[in-house]
Homo-oligomer: 148 residues x 4
């Protein structure tokens, strides 16, 4: 049941993403994970590029990716997004990339923060309450259309 709530985005391998080993180059997984996160944000009414124009940038502090089974030409896969708050400043995304048959291809943990321009460069700030509510609030995915 909770599983149903997990936000997911479908993809298929594009051949230019392969490298000379005939498998998807590692850096492209980071593109997939990022695209799924941005789609998740948009599904909650948060626009990555719009945030930037308001002077707030969502930035990645740290990323950890475990690679399990390589993606190959013609394969389809899904990337999931689970968001958790850690401390006052951190928003942590836990993501899985699974092939069509459900096998785990890669897993990522992405530590992000909101920064704003300061005199001495970007400075982390607590995510604005309105943003937090949209991202972590009562109205989770799958409940938008509920009868509440």
């Amino acid at each position: 049941m909770i599983q149903d709530e997990v936000f997911k985005v479908g993809f298929e391998v594009r051949d230019h993403e392969l490298d000379a080993q005939g498998i998807v180059n590692n850096a492209n997984y980071q593109h997939y994970f990022e695209h799924a996160r941005h789609r998740f944000l948009r599904s909650r009414g948060v626009d990555f590029v719009g945030l930037h124009e308001e002077g707030l940038d969502a930035i990645v502090h740290r990323i950890e990716i475990d690679y399990r089974e390589s993606l190959r030409s013609g394969e389809s896969f899904e990337v999931s997004v689970v968001l958790k708050r850690e401390g006052k400043l951190r928003l942590v995304f836990e993501q899985e990339l699974r092939k069509g048959d459900g096998r785990l291809s890669a897993r990522a943990r992405v530590v992000t923060a909101i920064v704003t321009a300061g005199a001495a460069g970007p400075r982390p700030v607590p995510p604005p309450p309105g943003l937090l509510e949209r991202l972590l609030g009562e109205k989770g995915p799958g409940e938008d259309a509920s009868g509440r």
Copy 2:
């Protein structure tokens, strides 16, 4: 003195690597780190694409990247490569990406292994002795600090 021994590759930001925030997109750091590793391999007489043609693939099991200070249009930077063996199967790269003025922009730890094609998919094998000698041998970086 030890500093001189560390393998480094110079880069400059290409504008297509920027994203709408005006900073280099996170995935491109993975390209930079990979290119520096492959250049390191080649400097030791090991060819990434050649390995693949011999039936051995160097693959990444896990990558951890800490992002410290974003790269911007027009900036130059250097990526360092230090290689260590861990256990029988793992070759671990420790890498730093520093801007022209020496400030740390990002740091990576990349856990790799050598795999070969098996009946049930790729199977990790201990790096062949000849390969290890070239990568970590007498002239290898792992002994820079040794008393010999």
Copy 3:
């Protein structure tokens, strides 16, 4: 009616494809066009990577792209594929990239050939008859399931 026959692939902009101008970087259009071509090939039972493993490489000789209206964050679009034979050696793809509302964003003409490894490097060869039949033969797209 003929319009229905045109092969099309749907896409959406991924934010890492934007550059500092906030629009999709020009080179990414080439990725979109290529992915649509490879999907077209696969829909006809022709596998780009498989061809390579048989010693035949489909290569691009020349590409012309006209850019009309930039793609932006969050936009969806479709890429069409029409294939024509020119002379004995050339397969020419005519492609359009249209936004969700039908507006033309870019148009491409891609001149390709089949090459095979020769003593003096790759050498163009006429596309094998079986390949041509699958790509340009009686069984056009949309007719696969027809009652003929």
Copy 4:
């Protein structure tokens, strides 16, 4: 002598730019050509990202690329830039990509214009005189061969 005047930028292939055919994917040539153009602009005191921040965007209207000889792992190459004005609105770049031994790998013709934000979307404007002077002025490449 004239040859000496042509602006050139050196590159080397990065392995992630290869595709499953073991050659550099076509779209990456567009990255190389673009980076060389932006380096050319900067050498004349014109900053691509800075222009954008002033409300002027240099955009590509059309690109034509002829591919002659594929780039492979480990290869070095140079990209040249020659700029010409065409009509009131167009700045045309003619570019060659040559391998270390001088062999032509690819050639591009890139038609660009300066656009500014208008009520009905971007609108082409004649390049500002100060910009033209820096790009095509007395020290510009377009006059290398002139009789002055």
